[in-house]
Amino acid sequence: MATIVDFRAEKPNWCPGCGDFTVLAALQKAAVNIGLEPEEMVTVSGIGCSGKLSQYMGSFGFHSLHGRSLPVATAVKLANRDLTVVAAGGDGDGYGIGMGHFIHAMRRNIDITYLVMDNHIYGLTTGQTSPTSDKGSKTKTAPEGAVEEPVHPLQMAIMAGCGFVAQGYSGNLKQLTELIEKGIQHRGFSLINIYSPCVTFNKVNTYDYYKANLVNVDDDASYDKTDRFAAIRKIEEAEENVTGILYHDPSKQAYDEVLRGYPEQAIAKNDLKFTREQWEKLAVQFK
């Protein structure tokens, strides 16, 4: 059985206090709790401070391009369905440049878990407006305050048919670990949006801010996480200041279960033998 040490790789070089440390720790703990081995797991990330996660996680990794973690993760899962695949990145990465892939990954319901470290700012490029930056928030690229509406990833995911939508917070390692475990165990696409403060460039959405504002639906026995419209109402009422599993529908089939031609055994485990007989069968169609 692997331990937390097995899931440790390089020492992170995030700023001290960055919320991403907790996300890494939660992912490592979740992997151990589920009983994964490092070689059975692939972490695919995009570009940003958050994108470094794949380097620090002791699993196989792919630190891809800005906004492009989801197509890579999709293919890793399709190539070898026996692997546990986690995609990760920031709000800029996933909801800015990568927004198209986000919607389509949910549409496909590919069996991967997507962690978005949402700090409402571009960290790595030192503090520009992000798609989740609050309206009016002042950044280097919006010195007078952002004029655009922020994107609403949780509502968007629910409407796009995502079967597992949750929100975590870097100030609550225990809950975040549970969310990631459940997300990984969900067969299909799971979105976990994580409020992960950038202590260097975002002076508004801080740990103190979240401590004062977040409510946890996991603590609310009356909350029905199978009702998508109730979930959206709840998220809107709380102005997105909620954590926990907001929506869960385990009934949908994952992409690799419905794809035509998809073999029983993981594609990566099949040999590439192509026989003369198979060739003749193909060729005869052109005679």
Partner: protein, 588 residues
């Protein structure tokens, strides 16, 4: 030039022109002839003019031929656009259903008005006018209605005997009508011996079969003319071999998926055309620096931008050779005929894994979307070579975390690759510069080592021949081309050689690594070098100038970028003029 018979059918788009062309070409193919086809179509669904040409020969060719012997017109537009192509003694067959049909004044072309639609109605349905026209054609070229039977059975057998019979009857009626009313005849070339291994296949289909035979098991693609057919074909065939196709949300996703699958140990590719290739540039660099195998098929079309979406061109050379920021090793193969579309795609998967780098296979709309006879495909020639994959045993012997995915010590620049799932094989593939283990770093010395390691990979590349030469030793006039231009240019070469010109034909099969050593002797020996390519700036010619030292004044270009493929005569005229100018130089 090769003795041939050129036949063309035209009508409004959506009128069944493609299938009429296909029935005719396939029937002649099955009789043993070599056929070469060309589809002219527009970026419209209904309306607009479309036509399909079939060239019938007794030798293999890679060109649909300049001459038109028989034109079959379903509408007036077809006559207006194509009549001038008919040779003296040619035949125009048109449907008398065309109201007030007007045919240009002339006394050299045989005009055969036929009530195609009416006869078809009598035979059961007006849509069978294409069958009636097969019968008329058969009567003119000395075939019998029965020569079309096997294709009719294959196409309509599924719909029942009745449908087959009425189609055969329609052919017979057309045949009888022509026999009674017209005396014009056109002679077919000599009928070659029928060989069963021949295929009637397009470049796109050959690429698809090559991919399947080469072990590709995941195709991620976004639809774009003229590459979409690759996806259709692979979707059709994959269930037999256990592969899967993803229709990606865009080309960026398609190429990233292909990279992801290759990283996970599954041979994967994407196919696209110019606009899509442009979108893939950032990912190309990622595959290069992360040393992940990748195969991209670029079925080129007329650019720039959306350009002429349904027309052909060879203008993506620079993008394929130099596109993407930074510097990576890459391989660019340029199949010159449909058979090579099959083999080069197959081989591309071996090369991508052997060198752990991107491989681009460049075809174009002309070769991709048009079917022709391929003499034979010797599938047994091919062996799968997965390159340096590290074994579980080798990994078990290493200390934990010691696996150097990007080891710089191998002389050939290629290090062992592990695959997710392999114990002790953990590494992170990335676009950032990294050390030998794969950890991101910025140290100047290590950076240089990694750059040099990757650059070493292709230095001694000789897996695929870079070019083919035929012709006189020390030929004074050298004809150079690549890709689909090799077919027509070969005919020009044959013609000039037969006239006694000191001529050679060099066709390039690989743009990167550029085959400098293989070709520089031919270039340096020639007095004039004519480079024929379908673009406006002479992209191949410019590569020759860049890679080959010597007199650059001797290069001449034969260019076409109208969207229509070259006629053999257009190239011949240019080449002949050059040959004549050389003769003058000698006599002066």
């Amino acid at each position: 030039m090769i003795k041939d018979l050129g036949w063309k059918v035209g009508g409004a788009q959506g009128e069944g022109i493609d299938s009429t062309q296909d029935i005719f070409a396939l029937s002649l193919f099955r009789l043993g002839y070599y056929v070469s086809t060309y589809r002219h179509f527009m970026s419209l669904i209904k309306g607009g003019h479309t036509n399909g040409k079939v060239r019938i020969t007794s030798e293999i060719t890679g060109h649909h031929g300049d001459d038109l012997h028989i034109l079959l017109a379903f509408d007036q537009e077809t006559i207006n656009h194509n009549f001038h192509e008919l040779i003296d003694g040619g035949v125009l067959i048109y449907d008398t259903a065309i109201k007030d049909a007007t045919v240009p004044e002339n006394d050299k072309v045989n005009i055969c008005p036929v009530p195609l639609t009416e006869i078809a109605k009598e035979a059961g349905s007006p849509i069978m006018k294409n069958m009636v026209s097969m019968g008329v054609t058969a009567a003119i070229i000395g075939l019998t209605p029965d020569d079309f039977r096997s294709v009719v059975v294959d196409k309509f057998g599924g719909k029942g005997d009745e449908i087959v019979d009425s189609n055969i009857a329609a052919i017979q009626k057309g045949f009888d009508f022509a026999k009674e009313n017209f005396s014009a005849t056109i002679e077919l070339p000599a009928r070659p011996e029928l060989k069963s291994e021949r295929l009637y296949i397009s470049g796109n289909d050959a690429v698809s079969l090559g991919a399947i035979a080469g072990g590709c098991r995941l195709l991620a693609q976004y639809p774009i003319t003229p590459a979409t057919e690759v996806m259709y074909q692979i979707i059709k065939q994959f269930p037999q071999v256990g592969g899967t196709v993803v229709q990606a949300e865009d080309e960026i996703a398609a190429v990233m998926m292909s990279i992801g699958a290759n990283y996970t140990g599954v041979r994967s590719m994407t196919a696209t055309s110019g606009p899509g290739l442009s979108l893939m540039m950032e990912a190309l660099g990622l595959a290069g620096i992360s040393e992940t195998p990748l195969v991209i098929i670029d079925v080129q079309r007329s650019g720039p931008s959306t350009g002429l979406p349904t027309k052909t061109e060879q203008s993506d050379l620079y993008t394929m050779m130099y596109g993407s920021h930074g510097e990576i090793p890459r391989i660019v193969l340029t199949p010159r005929n449909v058979e090579e579309c099959f083999f080069f795609t197959m081989e591309a998967f071996n090369l991508a894994e052997k060198y752990q780098c991107p491989v681009i296979v460049a075809t174009d709309l002309y070769m991709g979307m048009n079917k022709q006879t391929v003499a034979s495909i010797d599938f047994d020639k091919f062996k799968i070579n997965r390159g340096k994959l590290i074994s579980d045993e080798q990994l078990a012997e290493l200390e934990k975390g010691a696996f150097k995915r990007f080891d710089v010590t191998p002389e050939d620049g290629v290090s062992f690759r592990s695959i997710p799932g392999q114990k002790n094989g953990r590494f992170v593939a990335m676009g950032n510069e990294h050390d030998e283990v794969g950890v991101e770093m910025e140290e100047p010395e290590l950076r240089v080592k990694q750059m040099d390691k990757r650059a070493k990979k292709l230095v001694n590349f000789n897996d695929v021949a870079g070019a083919t030469y035929v012709g006189a030793e020390n030929a004074e006039l050298l004809l150079v081309d690549f890709g689909s231009m090799t077919g027509p240019q070969r005919e020009v070469y044959e013609e000039l050689a037969a006239e006694g010109v000191s001529v050679g034909h060099l066709s390039i099969a690989r743009l990167l690594p550029f085959p400098t050593e293989e070709i520089k002797g031919y270039i340096n020996n020639a007095k004039k070098v004519l480079v024929t390519e379908m673009n406006s700036t002479g992209q191949l010619k410019n590569q020759l100038k860049q890679f080959i030292n010597g007199d650059h004044n001797k290069f001449e270009s034969c260019l076409k970028y109208s969207g229509d493929p070259f006629l053999v005569n257009e190239i011949y005229a240019k080449a002949k003029a050059l040959a004549d100018s050389l003769k003058k130089e000698v006599t002066l």
